[in-house]
C-alpha cells in the first residue's frame, strides 16, 4: 500500500469493494463515518475516520492513522478479555478503517433510566479497566443497549492502554458528567448505581478510582477560577 492521503484512500476503497459492501451511512460522528454493510456476506459496521479540513494536514494524518491503529488494538484486547464490545473483524490503519461486527441496539443516552442498566454498564466498565484499557470518551452516547438489555461499549477512538488511576478516574468522571448533562435530576442516583456495578468487579481498587474522579472534577474547577482572566 503505497502513498497516503486522499488519492490513495479513494483507490483502496475501490480495491476492497468486492470484499466489503458499504450499503449506507449509518451515522456521521465527530471524527468518523459509520457505514453499515457486509463483509463476505456478514453484516458489519465499517468505521472510517474522516479528514478534518480545520486542522494542519500533518496533524490530521497522524491523528487518523494513530487513532485507527490504537483503536484496533484496544478493541481486540477488550474483546479477548471478555468485555462486551463489538467483535473486531478487520483493521486497516493506513486507510483509517476498522470493520466490526454489527450490533443492534439503542443508545444508552436514550434509555439511561431503565432499571438496572447503569449497574450493568458499571460492571462492563470495571471489566474493561481490569483488562488495562481506558475508554477516553465514556459517555452515554458510547454505550449501546441490546434488546436483551446488555450494554455494549463502542468507539474506542480516544482510548488507551493504562492502569493509571488518573486515567481510570477520568473515565468514571466522564460518565458522571455525561449523566449530569443528560438527566440532571437523576444523575446522582444513576451514578451511584453505576459505581455499585463497578465496585462488584473492581473491588477495593474502585474506592481509589471513585475518589480520584472527584478530585479531578474539583481540580478542573479550581484551576479555571485561580487563573488570571
Amino acid at each position: 500500500m503505497e502513498g497516503h492521503g486522499a488519492e490513495a484512500e479513494g483507490e483502496i476503497k475501490m480495491a476492497v469493494l468486492d470484499f466489503f459492501v458499504e450499503e449506507s451511512l449509518v451515522a456521521k460522528g465527530a471524527e468518523a463515518e459509520l457505514w453499515s454493510g457486509t463483509m463476505l456476506g456478514m453484516p458489519v459496521v465499517i468505521k472510517r475516520r474522516i479528514s478534518k479540513a480545520y486542522r494542519d494536514p500533518a496533524l490530521d494524518f497522524k491523528l487518523r492513522v494513530n487513532r485507527t491503529f490504537e483503536e484496533g488494538r484496544l478493541i481486540s484486547k477488550a474483546y479477548m478479555a471478555g468485555v462486551s464490545v463489538p467483535a473486531p473483524l478487520f483493521i486497516d490503519p493506513i486507510n483509517f478503517m476498522i470493520v466490526e461486527d454489527y450490533v443492534k441496539g439503542e443508545l444508552l443516552r436514550d434509555v439511561v433510566e431503565r432499571k438496572g442498566l447503569m449497574h450493568s454498564v458499571g460492571v462492563e466498565v470495571a471489566k474493561m479497566h481490569g483488562a488495562g484499557i481506558v475508554h477516553g470518551d465514556l459517555t452515554t452516547s458510547n454505550v449501546l443497549i441490546t434488546s436483551e438489555d446488555k450494554p455494549v461499549i463502542i468507539d474506542f477512538g480516544l482510548g488507551a492502554f493504562s492502569n493509571d488511576v488518573e486515567d481510570l478516574g477520568v473515565d468514571v468522571l466522564l460518565m458522571k458528567k455525561s449523566l449530569e448533562a443528560n438527566v440532571p435530576a437523576k444523575a446522582g442516583a444513576l451514578y451511584d448505581e453505576f459505581m455499585k456495578g463497578y465496585r462488584e468487579v473492581a473491588g477495593a481498587a474502585s474506592e481509589e478510582v471513585y475518589k480520584r474522579a472527584e478530585e479531578i472534577e474539583r481540580r478542573g474547577r479550581y484551576f479555571q477560577e485561580r487563573a488570571i482572566d
Partner: protein, 339 residues
C-alpha cells in the same frame, strides 16, 4: 424607552455600557489595565479600576445621551474573577443602585460572555465555545442553565497562551502576539506536541510544558507559536465538534477573549460547516471583557422576571461556575445591535 447599565470589573477591564430595550448598545466604554511587566497583580488592577471608574461611567452616559433618571436597572459582573477587582465593581454598582433606585442584578460573568455573543449572533440556541484567560468551557443551554459539555481538565486556553508568551518574553496579553507569530511560522511546518482530548474535555498543561521545552532547545519562536496554537485550537475544535454532535444544537458561536483569534474562529467555522450549521464569530470588541455583556444580561433578567437584588446584600463571588447560574430568563428573538 427603558435602559440598563452594565458594569464589568472581574479582571483587567473596567467597562460600563448602556443598552436599550430594543436591543441597541448605546454606549460601551472601558479602560483596560496593562501591567508594566509580567502578569496581573490583583491589587494593582483594583487600584486602577477605582481610579478610572468615575470617568468611564460619565463617558458612558455622555455617549448614550441619557441621564441617570432614564435608567431602569443596573447589572454587575459579581463573579467569577479576582476578588479585589470584583469588589470595586460591586461597590460602585451597589452605590449607584441605592442612590438612584435602579433595579440591581448580579450577573455571572461567564454567562455574560456567552449571552452577548448569542444576542449579537441572533441565534436562539447555539453551542457556545467560551474561551478566555481563565475559562475554557464548551456549553449549551439545557433545562434552564448553561451546562458544561466540555472543559479544560487543567489550565484555560488563554492561560496556556499567556503563560507561554510570558515564558518566551512576550508582554501580556500574549494571545494576539502568538497569533501573529504563528502566521509566520506556518511555512516552517508543525512540530509534534502533546495533543490531549479526553471525550469532550481538553488538557493543556502537557502542551505548555512541551512547547516551552522545544523553544528553549533552540527552535524558532514562530514555528513553536504556530505548532502551539495549531495543536491547542485543533483540540478545542475537536472537543467542540464532539459536543456539537452530542448536544445536536443547530448553530455554533465563539465567545470570550480568545474568540478574538481568527484562526480559532476559522477552525470552528469549518467544524460548523461540516455539520451544516451556521457559525458566528464574536466581533473582537465584544469578545474581550466588556460592560455591554453585563448590561444585556441585566436587561434579559429584568425582562424575564428575575427579582432585583437588595443593594446592601449583593457580594462579590470570586468562584462561580457557569452552570451555577439559572438562565431560565434567556430572551430569544432579539438581535443586539451596536449603535
Amino acid at each position: 424607552m427603558r435602559y440598563w447599565v452594565g458594569i464589568e470589573s472581574t479582571a483587567h477591564t473596567f467597562g460600563v455600557s448602556i443598552v436599550s430595550e430594543e436591543g441597541t448598545i448605546l454606549a460601551d466604554e472601558r479602560d483596560v489595565y496593562v501591567p508594566p511587566a509580567g502578569g496581573l497583580q490583583p491589587r494593582e488592577v483594583a487600584r486602577h479600576h477605582t481610579n478610572v471608574a468615575p470617568d468611564v461611567i460619565k463617558k458612558a452616559f455622555t455617549r448614550a445621551g441619557i441621564g441617570p433618571s432614564d435608567v431602569t436597572g443596573i447589572g454587575i459582573s459579581y463573579g467569577p474573577g479576582l476578588g479585589p477587582c470584583l469588589r470595586v465593581g460591586v461597590s460602585v454598582a451597589r452605590a449607584l443602585s441605592s442612590y438612584y433606585g435602579w433595579r440591581l442584578f448580579g450577573v455571572n460573568h461567564t454567562v455574560g460572555h456567552v449571552e452577548i455573543s448569542r444576542l449579537l449572533s441572533g441565534f436562539s440556541d447555539p453551542l457556545a465555545v467560551y474561551v478566555s484567560g481563565g475559562n475554557t468551557n464548551i456549553v449549551a443551554w439545557k433545562d434552564g442553565r448553561y451546562r458544561i459539555f466540555g472543559e479544560t481538565l487543567d489550565i484555560a486556553v488563554g492561560n496556556l497562551l499567556d503563560s507561554f508568551a510570558r515564558e518566551v518574553g512576550l508582554q501580556h496579553p500574549g494571545g494576539p502576539k502568538i497569533e501573529k507569530l504563528a502566521l509566520e511560522g506556518e511555512k516552517l511546518g508543525l512540530i509534534e506536541l502533546p495533543y490531549s482530548v479526553k471525550g469532550q474535555d481538553v488538557s493543556f498543561s502537557g502542551l505548555l510544558t512541551a512547547a516551552i521545552k522545544v523553544y528553549k532547545s533552540g527552535e524558532k519562536l514562530e514555528r513553536v507559536a504556530y505548532s502551539l496554537q495549531e495543536t491547542a485550537f485543533a483540540m478545542l475544535a475537536e472537543a467542540a465538534e464532539r459536543a456539537l454532535v452530542h448536544t445536536r444544537k443547530d448553530s455554533v458561536i465563539s465567545a470570550g477573549g480568545v474568540a478574538a483569534n481568527s484562526r480559532l474562529n476559522q477552525m470552528l467555522s469549518l467544524v460548523a460547516k461540516d455539520h451544516g450549521v451556521p457559525f458566528f464569530a464574536t466581533p473582537i470588541r465584544m469578545a474581550g471583557d466588556n460592560g455591554a455583556m453585563i448590561a444585556a444580561v441585566a436587561m434579559e433578567m429584568d425582562m424575564g422576571g428575575v427579582s432585583p437584588e437588595d443593594p446592601s446584600k449583593l457580594l462579590p463571588t470570586p468562584k462561580l461556575r457557569m452552570s451555577d447560574t439559572e438562565v431560565y430568563w434567556r430572551v430569544t428573538g432579539l438581535k443586539l445591535k451596536v449603535k
